[in-house]
């Protein structure tokens, strides 16, 4: 007979999304209580142990700070200082919980929304918005923070991460490559092929899928009727579905997967179930396609709120912590804003830079011709190309 039909009717899906699902990993319940999961506690020894207060405060600070960076960027876009911005609002636990589990020598390949992860990697905050202002094709030096710059072609980076992981294997190192991508991305052929390669070579890679329920206007139910974690099972890759708004669950799951990879256990897949509380990008209007109710439901599951409740229950949400975090947020937001508004403008001839690593005769000629073209305007006293109207010709 054919295997059991594991496809729930679309209407049944919502049920499966609930945290009652025993497969759904949650270590902080919605009220902020720490749920015991004996098999996982070893991954949270630092959180649960003596120095726990410091660790939790750190995670809290990170989450608040990246939300602030995000809000600042959104504001900068609204003010016309950025061309576009893809907010991460609502995904702070998924990004900080995973980002903070990494070692410096791990290497991240992400999509465009993982600016919180970049923060964990130590990105220069002056540089993070270059690309969104339109002043560069990408933001930072990948080798300085061991994280590739944002990938816009949906899913393409997953293959890069697997290749990088193969290189780690060849080198006999115990680093791990990470692939961040969204729920929508899972439909792209590249993502499936990346799992084929990872499983075939047992490469040390962690697939980290942020299921934020939407791919622009498309609900995740259009991409799949079962969980995305199960997708990985079909490729023979160990997988887990975690509450992506629970920073501790994300942290523990990520640590476990990284450890597995370091031990030679090959690839893993984490589906972090979270929610994109903002628009897809600042160019998007989500009211055209989603219910206000849905947003409200998820606002109640806000990952920062959850951690605050937890901190409170442990008496850790002190005035001092709040103030420290607020001060840091202000500082960081200032750096970001300042970085944006003082960013040097590119120069015309920069368009020709770095197309090739070695000299290219065809392009050099084109460059030379354009230089001559621009020089004309200087002779005529006009400012620059594109600013001289035909009338003045």
């Amino acid at each position: 007979m054919l295997g059991e039909d594991s496809t729930p009717h679309p209407q049944e899906r919502s049920r499966r999304e609930q945290s009652e699902d025993p497969e759904f990993l949650q270590l902080l319940d919605p009220s902020g209580q720490r749920v015991a999961r004996p098999e996982l506690d070893r991954w949270l020894a630092d959180v649960d142990g003596e120095g726990g207060a410091r660790v939790l405060a750190g995670l809290y600070e990170d989450m608040v700070v990246i939300r602030r960076i995000d809000m600042e960027a959104t504001a900068l876009q609204r003010q016309g200082e950025l061309a576009l911005w893809p907010p991460l609002l609502g995904q702070e636990a998924a990004q900080i919980g995973s980002g903070r589990a990494l070692r410096q020598d791990d290497f991240v390949f992400s999509s465009y929304r993982e600016n919180g992860v970049a923060y964990c990697r130590g990105v220069n905050l002056n540089e993070i918005l270059r690309v969104w202002r339109g002043n560069a094709s990408s933001g930072w030096d990948p080798f300085e923070i061991n994280m590739a710059t944002p990938q816009i072609i949906i899913g393409a980076q997953t293959l890069h991460s697997v290749g990088y992981a193969m290189g780690i294997q060849f080198d006999g190192a115990d680093s791990v490559a990470l692939a961040y991508f969204g729920d929508g991305a899972t439909s792209e052929g590249d993502v499936s092929e990346s799992m084929v390669f990872a499983a075939s070579y047992q490469a040390p890679v962690l697939f980290f899928c942020q299921n934020n329920h939407w791919a622009i206007s498309e609900p995740v139910t259009l991409q799949t009727h079962i969980t995305l974690a199960e997708r990985a099972g079909g490729f023979g890759i160990p997988h887990v579905r975690v509450d992506g708004n629970d920073v501790l669950a994300v942290l523990a799951a990520t640590r476990e997967a990284l450890d597995r990879a370091r031990q030679g256990g090959g690839p893993s897949f984490i589906e972090a179930v979270t929610y994109r509380m903002g628009p897809h990008t600042t160019a998007d209007d989500p009211t055209r396609y989603r219910d206000a109710n849905e947003l409200e439901d998820w606002a109640a599951k806000d990952p920062i709120l959850r951690l605050e409740k937890h901190l409170e229950s442990r008496g850790l949400l002190t005035q001092e912590l709040r103030e420290r975090v607020a001060a840091k947020s202000d500082e960081v937001a200032g750096v970001v804003r300042n970085g944006v508004i003082t960013m040097p403008e590119p120069e015309a001839m920069d368009v020709f830079k770095h197309v090739y690593a070695t000299p290219n005769s065809w392009l050099s000629r084109q460059e030379d011709h354009y230089r001559r073209y621009l020089a004309q305007f200087e002779h005529h006293g006009a400012s620059a190309a594109g600013h001289v109207s035909g009338g003045q010709h």
């Binding site: 061309a83 622009i216 206007s217 259009l222 368009v351 001559r372 109207s389």
Partner: protein, 339 residues
């Protein structure tokens, strides 16, 4: 006659095609509830239902590949590729399947597929959102490639593309979506000029200026500006990029003896190369100057702060006209030199 935006005209053309033929179905990412990121399909799912306007999973090969299957079943799918730069994952299905199926099956399987591609730059987008990939497709036998430059053509030619039994790539100049124009919605398709035909937009005697899609508007501005300087420019809107309507361009070049071709795509192997080569073959003895190409550079599309340097604009094209006319121009100093 109604005044409408370019975007609205495509929408109206799609609606008309869907009304006329129940086999026409639209497929793409975000084209249903949202009406597409550019709102080109706005309202169509509401009016025609989910089986006529399909939001698809996020996979471009999947969109084109399933559309091929629908063609086998007698449908006429119209696929939207959200942005030019996202067509490449579907390249294999387009080049090895869509383009070759009719030939491979000795004409038994028709693939009356229309692939709509918002293309070109100028809207300040991040990378992969401003590509001009048309030459990949004009170099692919078995495909037809067209590009529209005004609301009336947008309205008419989307219907012609859908009605055509060959697969058609329909390139929409996204930076012109908000331009307005008159559209005759009552126009009888059979009365409209063939989708394969080019159109002479301004009569001129000194130089022929060929453009398509987004640069047609710029070309018309060039004709005015050059006219002010006493140069008479004949502007031709290609409309069809494969096949090109060579007789029309040829007649013009025989008259003017000079040719300028403008496009946003890179020069190396761009459409300009084919047009320059073909016209040189066809009118060598009439040419008074080598055909001049004014194109984007051979670089990946640059970040938005620099895109105006990449895109041929009024001044760059005027400079090209000067070159074709043997007037002083940016490369004059190189004349005769071995550059």
């Amino acid at each position: 006659m109604a005044t409408m935006t370019f975007a609205r005209a495509i929408n109206a053309g799609l609606r008309k095609a869907m009304e006329n033929d129940p086999k026409v179905v639209l497929m793409g990412e975000d084209i249903g509830t949202l009406g597409g990121v550019f709102r080109i399909t706005d309202g169509l799912q509401k009016d025609f239902g989910q089986h006529r306007v399909l939001d698809t999973p996020l996979a471009e090969a999947g969109i084109i590949g399933t559309a091929i299957g629908l063609s086998y079943r007698g449908y006429r799918p119209v696929c939207e590729i959200q942005f030019d730069g996202f067509i490449y994952p579907a390249f294999d299905q387009i080049v090895s399947q869509v383009a070759k199926l009719h030939y491979r099956t000795q004409g038994l399987v028709k693939v009356p597929l229309t692939i709509r591609v918002p293309f070109g730059g100028g809207i300040g987008s991040p990378e992969h959102h401003s590509e001009s990939p048309e030459a990949y497709f004009t170099h692919t036998s078995g495909l037809r490639v067209i590009s529209v430059s005004n609301p009336q053509d947008a309205y008419t030619m989307i219907q012609q593309a859908i009605a055509c039994d060959d697969p058609v790539l329909y390139f929409e100049p996204k930076r012109r979506y908000h331009d307005k124009g008159e559209v005759d919605e009552g126009l009888d398709l059979s009365a409209a000029p063939s989708m394969e035909s080019a159109r002479v937009l301004t009569q001129g005697s000194d130089v022929t200026l060929v453009a398509y899609g987004p640069l047609v508007k710029t070309a018309l501005d060039v004709a005015v500006a050059a006219g002010d300087e006493g140069i008479s420019v004949e502007v031709i809107d290609l409309r069809s990029l494969s096949p090109v309507d060579y007789p029309v361009v040829e007649a013009s070049v025989r008259k003017t003896g000079r040719l300028v071709i403008a496009h946003e795509a890179g020069q190396n192997g761009g459409l300009g190369a084919e047009i320059a080569a073909s016209l040189t073959e066809r009118c060598f003895n009439y040419l008074e100057h080598a055909p001049v190409r004014v194109t984007g550079f051979d670089i990946p599309y640059p970040y938005s702060k620099l895109e105006m340097h990449h895109l041929p604009d009024l001044d760059r094209i005027l400079d090209g006209v000067d070159r074709a006319m043997d007037r002083p121009n940016s490369l004059s100093s190189l004349d005769g030199a071995d550059d």
